[in-house]
């Protein structure tokens, strides 16, 4: 009987040891999982913050580029207009000579002062107005 009681106690002790160990293991696992979840959340939070910041920078860069492009186009239009006026002036300076040259080639003889007057008259009346 004594031996059986001892054996019984031994078995109960073994079960208790298993239960205690399992309880502790469950507690440690829960703690581990909780801390891992927190770490993961913190890591995700950091990544999201950085991405958000990068998105803001992206928007700023693109907005700057758009402004820069608009400025380039505005300056370009202005430059084109200046260039157009300069080229037009230069062309008009040579217009009478080129027209006289074309005229002499088409009529097959050198141009005369009368031709020059007529060309100048045309330039005054038709070209200079435009």
């Amino acid at each position: 009987m004594k031996h059986l009681e001892g054996r019984k106690r031994e078995i109960a002790g073994a079960y208790k040891a298993v239960d205690d160990t399992r309880t502790e293991m469950e507690r440690l696992r829960a703690e581990y999982q909780e801390r891992l979840t927190k770490i993961e959340a913190e890591a995700r939070g950091r990544i999201q913050d950085t991405v958000k910041e990068a998105q803001h920078q992206r928007e700023a860069i693109i907005a700057d580029a758009r402004a820069q492009a608009e400025e380039i186009m505005r300056d370009g239009s202005s430059d084109i207009e200046i260039e157009r006026i300069e080229t037009l002036t230069r062309m008009r300076g040579t217009l009478d000579a080129v027209a006289l040259n074309a005229l002499s080639k088409s009529i097959g003889s050198d141009s005369t002062p009368i031709h020059r007057e007529l060309v100048d008259e045309y330039i005054k009346t038709h070209v200079a107005r435009s």
Binding site: E31, R35, A54, A65, Q68, I72
Partner: protein
């Protein structure tokens, strides 16, 4: 020797020696011994197996249960120790995960910014291209206008200055040139 009395009732325990049926001690012990061995043999043959089978099964079940308990305990202890170690190393894991997060976020950030720069340079380039196209268009328009002015001026001067004879001479020259080329 007369064993008739013993054979009639072999389980008689008292010494059956009397004056009419003398039995020596040796005889008595021999017969008793044989009887005892017979009973023992029957007990071992038929009675013991009735208990030894279930006892062995029970013993095996107890041993198995003990083994299972030991195995479960060992396994649980192993898992518990594993979690303990993991918790002890969690600081390192935290650092590693944070470093990884920083690296990942830097990569994402770099990608986003690189993409933004690419888009930005594309926008600027489109603006420059647009300006270039406008400039080319303006220059072509100017050249066209210049050529039209030159032709207009030459035509005007020619129409105003050419006499009938000159017209005639030009027409003849043209006909000759056409004829020569034909």
């Amino acid at each position: 020797m007369d064993f008739s009395k013993l054979l009639q009732w072999p389980f008689i325990l008292e010494h059956p020696d009397d004056a009419q049926n003398p039995i020596t001690d040796i005889q008595w012990i021999t017969v008793r011994g044989i009887g005892f061995l017979l009973v023992a043999w029957m007990f071992m043959k038929f009675v013991v197996p009735m208990f030894s089978g279930p006892m062995a099964t029970r013993r095996k079940a107890i041993i198995d249960a003990q083994d299972q308990i030991d195995s479960t305990l060992k396994e649980t202890e192993s898992m518990r120790n594993d979690y303990r170690q993991r918790l002890d190393k969690l600081e390192d894991e935290t650092q590693a995960r944070m470093s990884e997060a920083v690296r990942e976020s830097e990569q994402l950030s770099a990608h986003i910014l690189s993409d933004a720069k690419s888009i930005a340079s594309s926008i600027v380039r489109r603006g420059e291209d647009e300006v270039g196209r406008e400039r080319d268009k303006a220059m072509v328009s100017l050249q066209k206008e210049f050529v039209e002015d030159v032709i207009g001026a030459a035509r005007y001067a020619a129409s105003k200055s050419l006499t009938g004879a000159a017209h005639h001479s030009l027409v003849e020259d043209f006909i000759q040139k056409v004829g020569a080329s034909a």
